[in-house]
């Protein structure tokens, strides 16, 4: 293939609705470097909306009870959600001259982060530098300039399942509106990416050679005497659905992108490699952030408000994303029948009928209403008002030794699930139901070492190719 056709582009991370790729072969830019001085916003954003990504939760209210600490972590989650979804400059840094949702929707900071497939390459090669992105070959012939590629139709990709035998093959989730499979992506911030690259953890040989206890960078809250503290490792997991206005989707209630939906070739079921350019809407959003107060990471999870029950303002008669209230006989929280071929469109009786097992608690609902109100105050048509925090999981005993008998630090709440990302493992059964910290505590490298609560390192391949 002609080198130029490989489109190893320097993605300038423009607005997804504008020219996303402005140059190929240009100079790599690092976030926050060489950026022009940002103009000052004419009016401060409502409430606590800010482009500042928190490095850790703020405990200046001196919380003494579980509920008070939970509140502080939930605020941290909302601050993170807003900052990560803030309008982005071409280099991926937040555009402080703008406010989230002022234009209804906007490009986001986190979508400039590295996608997991860009880090763990099939030949174990060194990933392209931060700010540079590479498309799968099947997508290079598709007209379009969008940087986002969605390839996973389950939370853990098939290739990882083949390698590790992880028991997460619990099934895809299928849209009630259009019968299409939801798609997922995982992204890493620059601190996490640099840690993996600097320690050659992106291939098996590098992991074998790394003899230290793996510890991703920790976020530390800045102080007046130490303002330049690290952000810490951040991992984003996002769930998307195909937006199909002909089938009743209301695009104004979703953060939408034009994305390459990539289906790798598969023998079982027989599936051809394909890539399509599609409009996708954000329906689920995990943020995992390693911070000083949480060596077991802070786990925040958000959903689009219409996933399994009608959100505020949903027109009467409009369909939900993953639940059909008119079907009383549809099996609830059951995966679609196999074979699971994400390139197919399923008939109505095979689509997902999903209910939330653990309700969002009242305190979190109240906090959601407050932040949604601030987002709506920016612009009544802001798509960001249609997202809600499900909860935040954090360690109640963060000092617990990560090499001791209870490294998880007694997470609170003990169980947490996103209906789009842990659809079929909701509940309250220890070691079975979804608990972010408990589950990710089992994550290892390809040579079975503890990988600091991320399964990403299991995706590393042999240097030079082969499993």
């Amino acid at each position: 293939m002609h080198v130029a056709k490989k489109i190893i582009c320097i993605i300038a991370l423009c607005s997804f609705v504008a020219t996303a790729i402005t140059s190929c072969g240009g100079t790599q830019q690092t976030a926050n470097s060489n950026a022009p001085p940002a103009p000052v916003a004419s009016a401060p954003p409502p409430g606590n909306l800010s482009s500042n990504l928190p490095h850790d939760a703020d405990f200046s209210d001196n919380p003494t009870t579980l509920d008070q600490i939970q509140h502080d972590f939930d605020v941290f989650s909302w601050q993170s959600f807003v900052a990560l979804n803030w309008p982005a400059l071409p280099d991926g840094s937040p555009d402080t001259s703008k406010t989230i949702g002022a234009d209804g929707d906007n490009s986001t900071v986190w979508e400039s982060y590295k996608e997991s497939y860009e880090v763990f390459l099939p030949d174990g090669a060194t990933p392209l530098p931060w700010g540079q992105h590479q498309l799968p070959a099947a997508c290079q012939s598709v007209n379009g300039v969008e940087p986002k590629v969605l390839r996973m139709s389950q939370k853990v990709s098939d290739e990882v399942l083949d390698e590790s035998g992880q028991p997460f093959n619990t099934g895809p989730i299928v849209d009630q509106q259009n019968g299409k499979y939801a798609r997922f992506e995982i992204r890493l911030n620059q601190d996490a990416f640099n840690f993996i690259v600097n320690n050659t953890l992106y291939n098996k040989q590098g992991q074998q050679a790394f003899t230290q206890f793996i510890q991703f960078p920790t976020g530390v809250a800045p102080t007046p005497t130490n303002p330049n503290t690290p952000v810490g490792g951040i991992l984003i997991k996002a769930a998307w659905k195909v937006i199909d206005t002909a089938n009743g989707d209301i695009p104004g209630r979703y953060h939408t992108v034009r994305a390459y939906v990539y289906t790798p070739a598969s023998d079982n079921p027989p599936t051809k490699e394909s890539c399509q350019l599609v409009t996708m809407g954000l329906v689920g959003f995990h943020i995992a952030h390693k911070t000083q107060s949480a060596p077991q990471w802070v786990w925040s999870t958000f959903e689009q408000v219409d996933n399994v029950q009608p959100g505020a303002g949903l027109p009467s008669g409009a369909k939900l994303n993953f639940f059909n209230p008119a079907c009383s006989t549809c099996p609830v929280n059951v995966p679609p029948p196999k074979p699971w071929d994400p390139s197919q469109t399923l008939p109505p009786d095979k689509r997902s009928q999903i209910k939330r097992v653990i309700p969002i608690d009242d305190a979190t609902k109240a906090l959601n209403a407050q932040w949604q109100g601030w987002l709506k105050a920016v612009n009544p048509n802001s798509v960001w008002q249609y997202y809600e925090l499900v909860s935040t999981q954090w360690p109640t005993q963060p000092q617990a030794s990560l090499t001791g008998p209870n490294p998880t630090g007694a997470p609170a709440p003990p169980f947490l699930a996103n209906t789009t990302l842990e659809t079929y493992i909701q509940g309250k059964v220890p070691n079975v139901s979804s608990s972010c910290i408990m589950c990710h505590n089992n994550a290892t490298t390809t040579n079975a070492k503890f990988s600091d609560f991320t399964y990403l390192l299991e995706r590393a391949k042999n240097k030079g190719g082969g499993k």
């Binding site: 579980l66 005993q397 008998p405 007694a410 997470p411 709440p413 059964v429 290892t444």
Partner: protein, 152 residues
């Protein structure tokens, strides 16, 4: 500590009976305090008057701040004909997460006639902590932990 005096006395008594600290048995910040479940189990299975005797006796012992509280608990509770079997059942409950039927012949020699208090309790039995091991089907320890020597 809890504002519930029964829970406070129960946790204090449990610390003397098990050798673990009150903070270990009832952490100040805990999402799923098993101590609450154990106290509820005790109250559901033992006559209220006897539960009250045990907790009041312990409260009086603690109020005197004796130099060896375990010895006082031994003499005043464990050696008591009525309270002793219940106190020993409390020890079993903390270590094994099981409530044994007090009507069976004492002392209990087998493991029959017991009920696991809850799924939450099953994972938190003190026996596993003391032995640096884990119950069947539930482990937080990382792959290869068995190759490391036990800690003190």
């Amino acid at each position: 500590m809890s504002s519930d005096p029964d829970l406070t006395n129960f946790v204090g008594l449990s610390a003397a009976l098990t050798g673990f600290t009150t903070d270990q048995l009832f952490p100040p910040i805990s999402p799923d305090p098993v101590a609450v479940e154990y106290l509820n189990t005790l109250k559901a299975n033992v006559a209220a008057a006897l539960v009250n005797d045990i907790l009041t006796t312990f409260q009086n012992i603690a109020a005197q701040n004796p130099p060896n509280i375990e010895q006082e608990v031994q003499q005043q509770i464990l050696d008591d004909a009525a309270m002793g079997p219940v106190a020993r059942n409390i020890i079993r409950m903390w270590y094994l997460s099981i409530w044994y039927d007090l009507n069976q012949q004492q002392p209990i020699t087998g493991f029959s006639a017991g009920t696991v208090v809850s799924m939450n309790a099953y994972t938190q039995g003190l026996a596993w902590n003391a032995a640096q091991a884990h119950p069947m089907g539930y482990s937080e320890m990382h792959y290869g932990y068995w190759a490391a020597p036990p800690t003190e």
